[in-house]
Symmetry: C2
């Protein structure tokens, strides 16, 4: 079985599943394997460092003949990175967090589907105005950066706003039940991060993989301690969901003080560099309760698709003609 | 059509829909009409004031011959109120927010299904230990009091923990798409508050009904300003989602100061008593984007059921045999 939606039709994939372009973690290998599994793999281009892009986009094109894409942080990327990405002929370009208007025309002129991620209804309106072909409605249960809406009520509101343009749901989806649920909400597919971060191909240290498998949804929190500690430049309106850790506990609520504390910032950078889980931010979503292994990404795609079909069949069977009741 | 799940079988209703027992707003008339529509109406017994209970339970028993129930705030209710409720022969008793262990044996001994609402996995474990027949997994997008989990990833985690006992999903569900979605997550039904608060039968002032219809999900926030202002006694771990208003804006982050400011507390009580929307807490969930009218509750139940069936049928049609792809 495969599942056909306006999203699968638009980008030419078998399953309504997209890899969230997690900066750094979603490299060419992970994106290629998600695409090989029948989803849309999106390389996490982050701020658009050209050498990283060249390496990972060469990897993805070498490893899959299926459609793949690339995503960037809108507030941080430049035109050169978009241009470089387009030169590799992606099946989609995604822009997240910030105003897509400056970059949208170039992507659309190239005839490449433009995916824009939004975290509230205002952002959704601006993305539609900019000409986005696909809107990603991201809920606050997502790992990494995001806004304040929750996926379940946010997605149908964006679906109503964007119709007939397709919407992907992001945030809190890690198994086939979640995929089936967001399709029921009217989404044309799911964008999935944390579940793919916990995979064989994600570019993460082994300690992070272990931590993801062991932790629970309630071990995560949204905050901006790590953004302050590394002076990341992230716009203030976006917080990030990470595993709670000792450094975060120490500085939560004291971000202004941390901003002025050079020693603490250096402690953060050193701890992060050496992979110290008490210090480094481990991006992770609330769906961690559903994640207990680190399989190959193609297996994750296959499981998501099969379990979604099973969930849909289970729910369809619950309907009973009134006479029989 | 109707929809059969372990929840509908247990309490004997046609649709997997339960009215959230919203203290004050969910009186006997609203509960009766939800039950008449084929859902399970639950009267919002709150702290268990006996005169209010007698009035509303007399109302519900007079207005419906279908199964109905009653819910209480576990941290605030006493044994006498539980006893009084049982004397009216409800089809279910629900306990929310607090340790259900002291009251569970009495309800179970009466042979009445016990529904326990939880906001994290620890609470879910304790509810199961106490013998709950049904667990309600409530997400933070819900209106009124609650915890910090999001419905979409929380529900399947509770379903896995509680199996084979049925789980209802609460928080963020206001239309048939949301009902279909939580069934796909593995829930045996949806518990719905805000959508029924915006109905003809809810015990709310007209200005509140108008505000609910006009406001959007992003006009809501979680906080505890109103609990501090009225010294409500609510356990600190539970915040409440309300419409943002002037009083909340003024005191957010200054709750300790408000606790000592008698004049501000009196301003709050007076404003709430006269129905001033700038002051009073209007309990409302993030699903407000989906709520644009104030229909009779039976119509809401019928729409929820019909639209859920349509959503399930739509998603089932998306599946295509591989050969045809």
């Amino acid at each position: 079985m495969s599942m056909r939606t306006p999203f699968t039709d638009l980008v030419g994939v078998r399953h309504p599943i997209a890899l969230a372009p997690m900066g750094g973690a979603a490299g060419g290998a992970l994106a290629a394997e998600v695409s090989n599994g029948g989803g849309l793999g999106l390389v996490g281009g982050a701020r658009g460092a050209l050498d990283w892009l060249d390496r990972e986009l060469t990897l993805v094109t070498g490893r899959t003949s299926r459609p793949w894409g690339v995503g960037f942080l809108t507030w941080a990327v430049g035109a050169a990175a978009i241009e470089r990405a387009l030169s590799y002929r992606p099946a989609a370009v995604m822009l997240s967090f910030g105003d897509p208007a400056p970059f949208a025309p170039r992507v659309l002129a190239a005839g490449v589907p433009l995916i824009v991620q939004v975290t509230d209804l205002d952002e959704a309106r601006r993305a539609l105005d900019a000409g986005a072909d696909v809107i990603v409605a991201q809920g606050a249960e997502a790992g990494g950066h995001g806004g304040g809406r929750a996926t379940l009520p946010f997605v149908p509101a964006v679906v109503d706003l964007a119709a007939p343009r397709p919407v992907l749901a992001a945030g809190g989806i890690a198994d086939g039940r979640g995929l089936a649920a967001v399709l029921a909400l009217g989404a044309a597919g799911a964008m999935i991060g944390t579940r793919f971060q916990a995979s064989q191909e994600a570019l993460i240290p082994a300690v992070v993989g272990k931590a993801l498998v062991e932790a629970a949804g309630e071990d995560t929190e949204r905050g901006r301690v790590h953004d302050v500690a590394r002076a990341s430049g992230w716009p203030h309106r976006y917080t990030a969901r990470t595993l709670r850790n000792e450094f975060g506990d120490r500085w939560r609520g004291r971000e202004d003080e941390l901003r002025r504390d050079r020693a603490a910032q250096e402690e953060f950078l050193a701890g992060t560099a050496r992979g110290d889980l008490d210090v480094m931010p481990v991006w992770a979503g609330e769906s961690l309760d559903l994640i207990t292994d680190l399989p190959p990404a193609t297996d994750i795609v296959a499981r998501l698709a099969a379990d979604a079909e099973a969930a849909i069949a289970r729910v369809a069977r619950a309907g009973v003609p009134d006479r029989a009741h």
